[in-house]
């Protein structure tokens, strides 16, 4: 199981046709601090390190898009890159692109960085074309939220900004779940993240996130386009939050309130005539 968790992106890359040369962003395990709650408040690390996995022929182009859609190139050191604060808050897009005469491979990851309010909505970043073929969250989890198991999320698959109906997509998780999916007639993929954590402890901060990824490819005019989207996901809070009990406590409060009401005397500021 541990081997599977460590090597799953490599196994996934082998599973895909070799010609696809799929690239995938992964967090560097030791520095993955997303589980600390609240997306990394507290002492700020020097940067969030990610590694690019997959078959690389040469140096892929790495670009970090900021919430205001400005971009900055990053340099891979080995297969790793450290995403440092840009000074502005909110989602950034980390994009790796490798192009040959016959392939275009893209890996996309939306990274939340802290800083001053950017004044820009993540919807602007999502509307920005990052590659010809891309899987776009619709929408991303809101600021201070995160992907959680048991919840449904939607994704759009776009090629040249056109939604792709009935497009095959492969979904896989670090825990070994693998699903072959299709977008609907509108080019939307609706997906409930599986609860495939080996062990779930009570409390969000006590569970490390796992990784999921979506990959798809398309062939157009002799060029094979493939793209991946990856992100962490957390166990559903429903594992330690009891909704029935919550309702029971509210009903108890309601009952006590009715009792208090009966004891409240009727008062008047008006003197009785």
């Amino acid at each position: 199981m541990k081997l599977l968790r460590t090597c799953w992106p490599v196994l996934l890359a082998l599973y895909l046709p070799a010609a696809q040369a799929q690239l995938i962003w992964q967090p560097v395990a030791a520095a993955s601090d997303a589980h600390r709650g609240h997306g990394g408040h507290g002492k700020r690390p020097a940067g969030k390190p990610f590694q690019l996995q997959g078959e690389m022929s040469g140096q892929p182009e790495i670009v970090l898009y900021q919430p205001d859609l400005s971009s900055q190139p990053l340099i891979l050191a080995g297969n790793q890159v450290s995403v440092r604060s840009t000074g502005v808050n909110n989602y950034h897009a980390l994009v790796a692109r490798q192009t040959t005469a016959t392939t275009e491979s893209v890996a996309i990851r939306y990274v939340y960085l802290n800083g001053k309010p950017s004044g820009h909505s993540p919807s602007e970043l999502l509307a920005q074309p990052l590659s010809r073929l891309e899987i776009v969250p619709a929408p991303l989890p809101r600021e201070h939220r995160r992907y959680e198991s048991r919840k449904s999320y939607r994704f759009e698959v776009r090629f040249d900004q056109q939604l792709m109906p009935q497009q095959p997509i492969m979904f896989s998780t670090q825990a070994g779940t693998r699903l072959d999916l299709l977008t609907d007639d509108n080019g939307i993929l609706a997906l409930v993240l599986p609860e495939d954590f080996a062990e779930i402890k009570k409390g969000r901060r006590n569970n490390r996130p796992l990784e999921w990824q979506l990959t798809t490819y398309i062939r157009d005019q002799g060029v094979l386009f493939n793209t991946s989207l990856s992100a962490p996901y957390h166990p559903s809070p429903a594992n330690w939050q009891r909704y029935g009990l919550g309702l029971a406590v509210a009903i108890l409060g309601f009952g006590v309130g009715l009792g208090v009401n009966r004891r409240l005397p009727v008062q008047s500021r008006r003197k009785a005539k």
């Binding site: 004044g119 919807s123 330690w240 409060g253 009966r262």
Partner: protein, 357 residues
Amino acid sequence: MTLTNLTLLRRAVQLLAFVFLVYGAAVMGVYAADKLSGALPSLACAYDEKGADYCALIPLQHQVGHGLGRAMDSGNWLMFFLPILTTLGTFLLMFVVLNKAFCGWICPLGFFQEVVHLIGQKLGLRNVNRLSDSWVDKLRPVKWLMLGVLVFGLPALSSLGFVSKELGDPFCKICPSRIMTTLVSGTNEQLYVDTASYPYMALSVIGDFLFGLMVAMALTLRQPFCRICPLLAMHALFRKLGMARLVKQGSARCDKCGLCAQACPMDIRELQTDFNDTDKPQDITLADCTLCGRCVEFCPDKDVLQIRYLNLPLFSADPQYFKQRNKAQKSWDKISITDLTVRPVTKAAKPGKGGSA
């Protein structure tokens, strides 16, 4: 055009504000960055993903809870104060426009309680109408405690490591608006008991209980939660900056009348007792006032009470208006769906004993 019923106008504004603040993400967008201000002077909730805005208390708790310890460590106090000043500045930019009317005219939780009270009355439940002066005096400091302890105190102590991290945003964890707004937007995900830790469990139980208590009490008593709301306290701090004001130029008749205080949903008795012999109108926008305007509506004496905007009279007490409004209120009070307080007559029941609870 003459205004014949300020309360009806207020209800219409409240309804629009409720729909916008609870479901407005369809227009504004789902992300926090899409929201109107992120520091609204009303209890709209950030946990309601379908909402158009959220109140200033959540960013303030987070900024204190995350920033204070960091600033102590680094000595960079600018990093601590700048976000807080930005939130307060945004809050004030809006607050000066409407002042405490954000409570009486905009707040979704205030409107919800008014609707529940209306339902309670139309179901024939008893109307407590007002609390005793001693209870009002006991409750008044609670809002300051809520603001001081839950919004600033515990998040600060949490940031400094004196209490656990779970107490970083304690007010949000017990706020009835979190449960109400998410329930009405179609999800029960905020009505839970959290078993992750004892602090979370305690906070979630208090929150759920308080929500149930508020709903039950609102059936009978006007605005039960508003009386202890920390935003009301925050409004009170800045109320002198607001452009909208309640002013009074009372007379000796006020001592005997008391209709204004009777009409006040927050039981502000000073409406009747203060400023009864003044030469000029005095600002009587008191700490508990929500600028709902009911006191002005039910004042029978010309211009004794006024809502002023930039010191210009916007709505003034008027004998004619009072007569019409009083008549309308009496007609409205007669309308009843059912009387739940009437017990069915049984063989054992004696005549005349089946009255209200």
